[in-house]
C-alpha cells in the first residue's frame, strides 16, 4: 500500500501495523496547558491524537489551534472538523490553515446538533454535509483545486477520515453508508464506541462482503466506562449508542469502588476480541476526561510499544 500523504497514521497503517489513536477534548477556556497536559499523558501510547471540534456543541477552544499545539509538541494530530459551524469558505480556509502547519490528518463530521450545547439558540450552517466535506478535502488534495474550481497553491496533504456508527439506524444501510463514504474518498474510519461486539462483528462481515475493508482502514472506537452510572447514561441518553444490558449489569454487579477498573477490563477485553476481527486495522480509544487511563489500556491490550515509522 503506497502512501499519498506525509501522515504518520497513514504510514503506520500502510505498513500493516494496528494503529492506535486517541482523542483530547479542548478546554472551555484558553489555557493551552489543558491540551498539552492531556497530550503528554498519552503521547507515547498512541500514533495520532484527535482533537474534537466543539463536541456536543459546547463552545470550546478551536480544534485547529489545539492541533497546532500538538504539532508544536512534535505529535501527530487528527483535525476533527464538523460542518455544523462553518460554511464552505470557512471549511476550506481552515483546511488550508491546518495544512500550513502540516497537520496531515482530518476527520470529517457533521457534528452534534447545536441544541445539545451551550448555544441552543444559535444557527447551524450545514452548507455541506460530512460526506461532501470528505469530497472537498480529497478534491483540494488530489486535484489541488478549491470547490470553486481555482487552483490551490501548495494543496493540503491530508489523510482523510470519517466516522461510522455501526449501531445507528436504519441498520440495513449501515454498510451501504460506509460504501458511500469510501466512494466519497474516506481513507480511514473511526467508529462510534463499540459495546455491542456481536452487532459490530455483523457489520464488519457486511463490510468485508463488499470488500470495503480493503479500501478503507477501519479503526474500532472504544470508550472505557467509569461506572455503572455512565453505562446507563450512555445506553439511555446518548443518541446512536448501543450498550447491551450485559455490560450495564456487569458494572452494576461490581462494587462501586471497583467499577472503574471493571470498565477498563471490559475495554481491554473488547480490544482483544476485536483484534481478531478481519478488517479491523486499529483502535480509536476515546477516554472521555479520563486520558490518564489510555496508557494502561494500550499496554494491557498488548498494543505497546507503538511502532516507530
Amino acid at each position: 500500500m503506497s502512501v499519498k500523504t506525509p501522515s504518520k497514521l497513514e504510514m503506520i497503517l500502510s505498513k500493516g501495523h494496528l494503529a492506535v489513536t486517541s482523542e483530547c477534548g479542548p478546554p472551555r477556556g484558553s489555557d493551552p496547558e489543558a491540551i498539552t497536559k492531556k497530550a503528554e499523558l498519552i503521547k507515547d501510547y498512541v500514533d495520532a491524537i484527535n482533537i474534537t471540534d466543539n463536541q456536543t456543541s459546547m463552545t470550546r477552544m478551536c480544534s485547529l489551534a489545539a492541533c497546532i499545539r500538538l504539532k508544536q509538541m512534535g505529535l501527530e494530530p487528527v483535525l476533527q472538523m464538523v460542518t455544523r459551524d462553518r460554511n464552505r469558505i470557512a471549511l476550506q480556509s481552515d483546511i488550508l490553515g491546518a495544512a500550513s502547519f502540516d497537520i496531515n490528518n482530518i476527520l470529517c463530521l457533521s457534528g452534534d446538533h447545536q441544541s445539545f450545547g451551550d448555544c441552543a439558540k444559535g444557527q447551524n450552517v450545514h452548507d455541506i454535509d460530512s460526506m461532501q466535506l470528505i469530497q472537498t478535502v480529497r478534491r483540494m488534495r488530489d486535484d489541488g483545486k478549491f470547490l470553486g474550481g481555482d487552483d490551490i497553491a501548495r494543496p493540503p496533504r491530508m489523510f482523510v477520515g470519517a466516522a461510522a456508527n455501526p449501531f445507528a439506524d436504519p441498520f440495513e444501510i449501515r454498510v451501504p453508508r460506509l460504501a458511500k463514504k469510501v466512494n466519497a474518498g474516506a481513507e480511514f474510519i473511526q467508529t462510534q464506541c463499540i459495546y455491542n461486539l456481536d452487532k459490530f462483528e455483523e457489520w464488519m462481515k457486511g463490510v468485508r462482503d463488499r470488500g470495503l475493508h480493503e479500501k478503507v482502514a477501519i479503526l474500532a472506537g472504544l470508550t472505557p466506562m467509569k461506572s455503572a452510572g455512565m453505562a446507563k447514561y450512555m445506553k439511555n441518553r446518548v443518541p446512536g449508542m448501543d450498550v447491551p444490558d450485559a455490560i450495564v449489569k456487569r458494572l452494576s454487579d461490581t462494587p462501586k469502588e471497583k467499577q472503574a477498573d471493571e470498565g477498563i477490563k471490559i475495554c481491554v477485553e473488547s480490544i482483544q476480541r476485536l483484534k481478531e476481527v478481519p478488517g479491523v486495522k486499529g483502535f480509536h480509544i476515546m477516554a472521555i476526561e479520563w486520558e490518564e487511563k489510555v496508557p494502561e489500556i494500550v499496554e494491557k491490550a498488548g498494543l505497546y510499544p507503538r511502532p516507530e515509522v
Binding site: S110, P176, Q192
Partner: protein, 222 residues
C-alpha cells in the same frame, strides 16, 4: 401552506396598549387553515384584547376585520375604507401579509400578531408539520419525495447522521428522522440502490443565501 403561531397575548398587548384605535386584521387563506390568523381568529383576538383593555382600565377602541388574502392587491379593494379608520393595524397574516399591508398603508403602523413559522401540511386536525423551506432547487426526485432540507435538523444531503435512533431524530424522540423516512420510501419504491448515489454539493444560491428572490413572468405582466 404557510403556518403561523399567534404571539402571546401579553406580547400583542405590549405592542398596542398605547394606541387609541386598533384594527385586528385577518387573512383568510393559509393562516386561517391553521386557525391562527383567519378572519374568525381576528374576531376572537379582538374580543380578547377588548377584555384585556377593560381589565387594565385602558381606553382603546379595538375592531376586527379581514380579507381573503393579504398578499394580493385585489383583495384590498373593498377593505381600504376599513383600513382608514385605525391608528394601527394588527395584522394576523403571515410575515408576507404584514409587509404587504404595511406597503399598502404607507405611513400607518402595521404590527404582526403572529410568528410565521413554516411552510407545511395539515397532517391531522390540529397537527401541522414543516415540509418545505423553499430552497429553490428541489431534490425530492432523488430523495423519494421526502425533503431533507426542511425535515432533517442538519439538512444533511447524504444522511442519516449517526444520531438517528429507532427512526427518530437525535434532537427529539418525537421527531421522525427524515433519512429513515427516505430509506424506507426508497425501499418501498424498489430504489434502495439509489441510496448509494452521492448527492452533489448543493447550490444554495437559489435559497435565502442568494439574497431576496423574485420571479418575473413577463407574459403575465400588465
Amino acid at each position: 401552506m404557510i403556518v403561523g403561531d399567534q404571539k402571546p397575548l401579553e406580547e400583542i398587548w405590549e405592542m398596542i396598549k398605547n394606541q387609541k384605535k386598533v384594527l385586528v386584521f385577518g387573512c383568510n387563506t393559509c393562516v386561517a387553515v391553521c386557525h391562527t390568523g383567519g378572519n374568525k381568529e381576528a374576531e376572537i383576538l379582538g374580543s380578547m384584547l377588548r377584555m384585556k383593555a377593560k381589565q387594565e382600565g385602558v381606553d382603546i377602541d379595538i375592531k376586527d376585520s379581514g380579507i381573503e388574502r393579504q398578499c394580493e392587491h385585489e383583495f384590498y379593494e373593498k377593505a381600504m375604507e376599513t383600513l382608514e379608520w385605525p391608528d394601527v393595524v394588527l395584522s394576523i397574516a403571515c410575515g408576507v401579509g404584514v409587509q404587504f399591508t404595511a406597503e399598502k398603508l404607507g405611513n400607518k403602523p402595521v404590527l404582526p400578531g403572529l410568528n410565521t413559522t413554516f411552510m407545511g401540511s395539515v397532517d391531522s386536525p390540529g397537527l401541522f408539520t414543516e415540509k418545505c423551506q423553499g430552497c429553490g432547487q428541489c431534490i425530492l426526485a432523488e430523495t423519494g419525495g421526502i425533503c431533507p432540507v426542511s425535515r432533517c435538523a442538519k439538512r444533511v444531503m447524504n444522511g442519516p447522521c449517526g444520531g438517528s435512533t429507532k427512526g427518530k431524530c437525535e434532537i427529539n424522540k418525537e421527531l421522525d428522522c427524515a433519512w429513515q423516512l427516505i430509506v424506507d420510501r426508497l425501499k418501498a419504491l424498489g430504489r434502495l440502490d439509489d441510496y448509494e448515489k452521492l448527492a452533489p454539493i448543493k447550490d444554495w444560491s437559489n435559497e435565502r443565501s442568494g439574497g431576496p428572490r423574485k420571479i418575473v413572468r413577463e407574459d403575465l405582466q400588465v
